[in-house]
């Protein structure tokens, strides 16, 4: 692992109650997930809906409190403390819901400056204009309202707001999935450029493997609250070990007719089960083509096993020699 981590999460768990306080059942939205990220690095967290990736993101920025585990910033446990919170900022998925429609762009972007007392008066406006330029918007947009902007421009405003407090870590929760294809690339490239310029670490939550490939160096794949595979992006995405990652990879639709037609009829079976009633053992076992008796017993731990190049929580990982050229 390069450099010392700027942000680290150790065995984070979070449970929620579904179906009311009395008769409801608790379930683990996230269980025992660890990660670390170094300055200037991008770590992607990939998974389908209900896998816990957003809950994990919300814990990292302090919007949810973990039930178990700890979060360390520069090696020290993070507290509910503004000076530390300032260092980890979030970009939200929906650029239509995450900007207050009744406030000007100036006030939206300046909010972190006001909360943390970073700038006032003329300096405040100047800082907002700098941020607008940094995200590729006209500084004159400061006096306009969110509805005057397109989806891509709104997401730029959301990024400018997250950058206002000069964070060292940016947590981006599906920042491009609500955007049109041509605009997605603009926002992804903006994040890459900002990272190179500012040296920030980015935690990029996504479900689209191709977008993840373009931006991240390392990847964690989640399924039903567990981290099921982790490793370098080009290894996890190109030569996955966990059967779930293999299924995700096989389901990804590429804009290449020959390859896409080859993928016909190879979709993974079933759907992610309800997290309230998870299957015993490995949570992927009911959908897994490689599952055996052992998979229905003890849950496998996330580790590198003989023959694999990534860490996978699987008793029967796809080892290197089995791999066929996709």
């Amino acid at each position: 692992m390069p450099a010392s981590p700027i942000l680290e999460a150790r065995s984070l768990s979070k449970t929620f109650r579904a179906g009311g306080a009395v008769f409801g059942k608790t379930f683990h939205a996230v269980k025992n997930v660890s990660l670390s990220i170094s300055p200037g690095e991008t770590l992607a967290i990939v998974g389908e809906s209900g896998c816990g990736k957003s809950t994990l993101a919300r814990m990292l920025v302090g919007l949810e409190t973990p039930d178990d585990g700890e979060i360390l910033f520069q090696g020290a446990p993070i507290r509910r403390d503004r000076t530390l919170r300032r260092q980890v900022q979030m970009v939200f998925q929906d650029p239509y819901l995450s900007l207050n429609p009744r406030r000007t762009v100036l006030d939206i972007i300046a909010e972190p400056l006001d909360v943390h007392g970073l700038a006032k008066g003329a300096g405040r406006r100047q800082r907002v204009e700098e941020l607008l330029v940094a995200v590729g918007l006209d500084p004159a947009s400061a006096s306009r309202f969110p509805h005057e902007f397109s989806g891509g421009q709104r997401q730029r405003i959301g990024i400018a707001r997250a950058l206002a407090a000069e964070p060292s870590v940016l947590v981006c929760d599906e920042p491009v999935s609500a955007l049109d294809v041509s605009v997605q690339a603009q926002v992804v490239n903006l994040l890459i450029d900002l990272q190179q310029r500012l040296g920030i670490a980015i935690i990029f939550i996504a479900h689209d493997l191709a977008v993840v490939r373009a931006i991240s160096q390392r990847v964690i794949v989640m399924y039903l609250g567990r981290a099921v595979e982790a490793g370098a992006a080009d290894q996890v995405l190109v030569a996955p070990s966990h059967p779930y990652t293999v299924a995700l990879r096989g389901s990804a639709l590429e804009p290449d007719p020959a390859r896409a037609r080859l993928a016909r009829g190879t979709a993974a079976r079933g759907e992610p089960p309800n997290p309230v009633n998870p299957p015993p053992g490995c949570r992927f076992n009911p959908r897994c083509p490689r599952a055996t008796e052992i998979c229905r017993g003890e849950e496998p731990s996330l580790e590198q096993r003989p023959g694999t190049i990534t860490a996978a929580a699987c008793y029967h990982p796809v080892v290197r020699r089995e791999m066929t050229v996709a």
């Binding site: 041509s182 639709l253 804009p255």
Partner: protein
């Protein structure tokens, strides 16, 4: 694919214009759109949000929302002239001859009726069969879309199903009367990746079984590559390029098609994606000349003055561009 003599178009539209009167002016959502859908064929209408792809097909179905002005030179659905027939006959065509799968299965299904009741209603009203027969047919139908334990779940309500299962139920309702044309409007956009692939496989399978043609509306080039044979690319309410999927993906002629392909992320490469600069134009006052010229990397003097018409280029292909990329592809 195999052009048999009996293969004729099941849906033919030409010169379709749709506009909406708003307080800010007339929004020209669709301008001069023409296409033909062959029997059993999959044609993809591709475009970004606001390109007019959904409005075009809703105009064909006769279900445009709001105050719309719809004009067309021709709109024919398997021998029926949609421009002249009355509303009642049109209503009868929907479901039996042409039907629609929406993106959002939760809001398209009735939450207070069991799925057996709402699907069975189709058989009872359109075919006049008994309650019991409708129920049997519904179970059969649900099996054909691979809904697990259909006979047990037929009395469940939409909220008791997962997103993927709801989409299967919606597809079941669309194919219940074995239509000749299925319009699939972003049928997999709201679904998870692994479920998306399953639904596309299901659509493939049903098309083969029923021999229906599919008009696929999507913004996702991966979905187009997987499902469609021909593709029509829309930009700012107009068709900018049409052709086979293989031709267009290999050698796009219109710079917009090329830019769209270059902006799509790919799993097999870490090359930087090439975004398209700027954003789509206003449909109230579109730029003069080619609507794409302000964002185009090949624009010339003429592009801001004269709007290029969609004209046949190579066999089976057409594009609306003064400076198409095709000559280059051939010379190089």
């Amino acid at each position: 694919m195999n052009k048999q003599a009996e293969q004729r178009s099941v849906l033919a539209v030409s010169g379709l214009n749709v506009s909406f009167d708003t307080l800010r002016g007339e929004v020209k959502a669709v301008s001069d759109v023409s296409f033909e859908l062959g029997r059993g064929e999959v044609l993809a209408l591709v475009g970004e949000s606001g390109s007019g792809k959904s409005v075009s097909t809703r105009a064909v179905m006769g279900i445009v929302r709001g105050k719309a002005n719809i004009r067309a030179d021709r709109m024919e659905l398997v021998g029926h002239d949609l421009l002249t027939i009355d509303e009642e006959s049109k209503r009868k065509l929907r479901g039996r001859v042409i039907s629609l799968v929406f993106q959002d299965a939760l809001s398209a299904l009735n939450p207070v009726l069991s799925i057996g009741d709402q699907l069975g209603e189709l058989y009872r009203t359109h075919l006049g069969v008994s309650r019991r027969e409708a129920r049997e047919r519904t179970i059969e139908l649900l099996r054909s879309v691979h809904l697990p334990s259909a006979e047990r779940r037929i009395d469940d309500y939409p909220h008791q199903f997962s997103g993927g299962m709801r989409q299967r139920i919606l597809i079941a309702s669309a194919i219940a009367l074995k239509p000749e044309v299925l319009i699939a409007d972003e049928p997999t956009t709201a679904l998870d990746v692994t479920v998306q692939a399953q639904i596309l496989d299901l659509l493939d399978e049903l098309r083969e079984q029923l021999g229906m043609a599919i008009l696929l509306i999507t913004h996702d080039l991966g979905v187009v590559a997987r499902m469609a044979e021909r593709v029509a690319v829309m930009y700012a309410g107009r068709l900018v390029e049409t052709g086979t999927v293989d031709d267009l993906f290999r050698a796009p002629a219109h710079p917009y098609t090329a830019a769209l392909l270059a902006s799509a992320p790919r799993l097999d490469t870490v090359e930087r994606m090439e975004p398209i600069k700027g954003s789509p134009p206003s449909l109230i006052s579109p730029p003069p000349g080619c609507p794409f010229h302000p964002r185009c990397f090949r624009r010339g003097e003429v592009c801001s003055k004269v709007r290029p018409e969609l004209t046949p280029g190579l066999p089976g292909r057409a594009w609306a561009c003064h400076y198409p990329l095709v000559e280059i592809a051939h010379a190089g």
